[in-house]
Amino acid sequence: MSGDNIACPVCDVMYHLPPELADGETRCARCGYRLTLGQSEAITRVVGLALTSVVLMGMVVFLPFLDLEAGQFSNSATVYDAVMGFSTGIMMPLSLAVMGFIIVLPLLRFGLLIYALAPVVLHRPNAPGANAALRVAIRLKPWAMAEIFMVGVAVALVKLAGMATLHMGPAFWAFVGVVVVAALKDTLMCRNTLWTALANNKA
């Protein structure tokens, strides 16, 4: 088994990618899939950004998110409140799904990435189940919808702008931070590099 021989996961074309080629940016000649991103030094940054996201996410969950004022009425909502908006009666499953999409799954992805890749960065032996952790982290990517939630917030703010005064809480800005950091992290996640590093670290 040689890690230099790969097949494009999108169209199945085989390539021989020696390390000097795999360190740069390569694309599949047939379908254009980015086989490597040219981010071979990025593992440390991926772990660092994942840690940052976890801290920010902690702030998101516990601090006030938005504050609404209409006349003498005032209502402050955390992200948890937004999630629990559906929690009455038959809407309960949707509540859990929303919580999963915007908090649990993003947080799980960050945690799994740290679990799988931090030992590589620290030059320790791989944690048990590191392979499975990285696989799940990759698999969950489309289901972590923090950035979509942010656009939803923007739409909701416009809808409410006429009837009430809104104040953004610290959790709001922390959430913006999570979205930016997570996007930055995904541009650095070259699958080929991560798997190669994980496989080489085991030996």
Partner: protein, 213 residues
């Protein structure tokens, strides 16, 4: 930016009697069941791909019908309750002259879901027999559908935030309608449908000699 294949001819793993891991890309002999590098299950082609695509797509379509017929939001102001559907919410926004936001909601909740149904059905239909379409165009269609599908969730999140914020007893309260559940299910089902599609089929089912690439 080097194209990896410039110095080598294009052979697929299956033609060479090999199988590529879809998680980490590693090339392995066809008889191997699990990838030794990342532990993923290996399959040269997903034989049930199209069946799964059609099944999830149908489920998504079924859920999309009540999502449009039933109310998404129930607004109570001064003991008077109004219910608005997805399209009703968009026309409300237009009334409030929020054209940009109206466009985003309309695009995310109507254009993207319907476009997805059509594109996935088109791709799955083409793949059921040898086709002569440009594989690059089909692949681009597939990429767009897979990338954009999750953005339909916007409206569900909007409802969640409005519900959490607007709870002022008699003055104004907003509650979710049953359509929010149906719509979320529809989005999840169509995402699963798109993910079940084995993109390698696009090139497998290409009729010989019709396109080189």
């Amino acid at each position: 930016m080097d194209r990896a294949g410039q110095q080598q001819s294009l052979t697929t793993a299956r033609e060479a009697g090999m199988v590529g891991c879809t998680y980490c890309g590693l090339l392995l002999p066809m008889d191997q069941a699990h990838c030794p590098r990342c532990g993923a299950g290996l399959q040269s082609r997903d034989d049930q791909s199209l069946q799964k695509v059609w099944a999830w797509l149908l489920a998504g379509l079924i859920a999309y019908v009540p999502a449009n017929l039933y109310p998404m939001l129930r607004t109570t102001q001064m003991f008077h309750t109004t219910e608005s559907t997805i399209v009703g919410g968009v026309s409300d926004l237009i009334h409030h002259h929020a054209y940009g936001i109206a466009f985003i909601v309309f695009f995310a909740s109507v254009v993207i879901p319907i476009g997805k149904f059509i594109v996935i059905a088109y791709l799955a239909y083409l793949m059921s027999r040898p086709h002569k379409s440009d594989p690059h165009r089909l692949h681009l269609l597939y990429e767009v559908v897979e990338f954009i599908g999750r953005w339909s969730m916007i409206d569900v999140f909007v409802v969640a935030i409005l519900t959490a914020l607007v709870q002022f007893d008699v003055l104004a309260t907003i509650n979710p309608g049953i359509a929010a559940v149906c719509f979320a299910l529809s989005v999840v089902f169509t995402m699963l449908s798109a993910q079940s599609f084995d993109s390698r089929l696009i090139w497998d089912r290409l009729e010989k000699g019709s396109f080189h690439g």
